[in-house]
């Protein structure tokens, strides 16, 4: 329930991708400018695979479904933004190759980065589906019986529950 920096980092990644897409669409770019944007875009794309394990660890340590949903949604926004950027940069790389006759250094790494983003996307989507699954509310009768059991003394304090859970 506490706020943290991860949603902001994901949002920053989206903003960077959008800015680089806009700049790459400039009509008067020369080869040097286009190559600089290609390198910058690649660095942005390569940052996301480092953010994903941090988000995954944060969720794995235990969090509410709502927080997990927020983190995964923000991450997927960032992944999708960077996949769009990768597509734009692939076009830039092709134009550079046609203009200079040389393969830009970043082109091969771009393909690898795009592949990593697709793998992250697949895992995050699967996780988000699970987190967003509808709750299967128990019958009123089940809740009533549980309440009666608790009133009858079948109840554990936090410490008793912890010990039972951990077999201590």
């Amino acid at each position: 329930m506490s706020t943290n920096v991860l949603p902001e980092l994901a949002a920053e990644s989206v903003e960077t991708a959008e800015r680089l897409i806009r700049l790459s669409a400039g009509e008067c770019l020369d080869a040097a400018e286009a190559e600089y944007l290609l390198t910058s875009g690649l660095a942005a794309i390569q940052r996301l695979p480092r953010l994903w394990p941090i988000i995954r660890r944060r969720i794995g340590a235990g969090t509410t479904g709502a927080t997990a949903q927020q983190l995964l949604t923000r991450l997927l926004d960032a992944v999708d933004g960077n996949l769009t950027l990768a597509g734009v940069l692939k076009d830039s790389a092709r134009l550079l190759r046609e203009e200079t006759g040389l393969e830009p250094e970043a082109a091969a790494a771009l393909a690898t980065g795009e592949e990593q983003l697709r793998a992250i996307r697949a895992e995050a989507v699967r996780l988000l589906r699970a987190v967003e699954a509808a709750a299967r509310w128990p019958e009123e009768e089940q809740l009533k019986k549980a309440k009666e059991r608790m009133q009858g003394g079948n109840r554990l304090s936090a410490e008793e529950f912890r010990r039972a859970l951990l077999d201590e």
Partner: protein, 100 residues
């Protein structure tokens, strides 16, 4: 408010019987108790209820069991919330989408 959280014996039995959880996974699972204890007001306010007047809300807790990230739904009665008590009546492991 800091809440006292108590758990129905059936919930404890159900969770203990879940297979494949590592010790670290069980510790991560236990984290929901700290959330109810320390952030009970937010949980009571923000977690869904079947009807607005119901005293039971559902807290979904997502964590790494060890082999995989899973979620457990906890159904918590706050009928005695004003007195600082939350009672965990029921729990269910949320099935994975592929489990249906």
């Amino acid at each position: 408010m800091i809440y006292r959280v108590e758990v129905c014996g059936g919930v404890s039995d159900y969770l203990r019987d879940l297979q494949g959880f590592t010790r670290v996974g069980r510790l991560a699972l236990y984290g929901f108790m700290d959330v109810l204890r320390n952030y009970g007001d937010e949980a009571r306010e923000g977690c869904p209820r079947k009807t607005p007047e119901s005293t039971v809300f559902c807290l979904r807790w997502t964590f790494d069991t060890g082999p995989a990230i899973r979620s457990v739904d906890f159904y918590v009665d706050d009928a005695q919330g004003a007195a600082g008590l939350l009672e965990v009546l029921y729990a269910e492991l949320v099935p994975l989408p592929e489990e249906g």
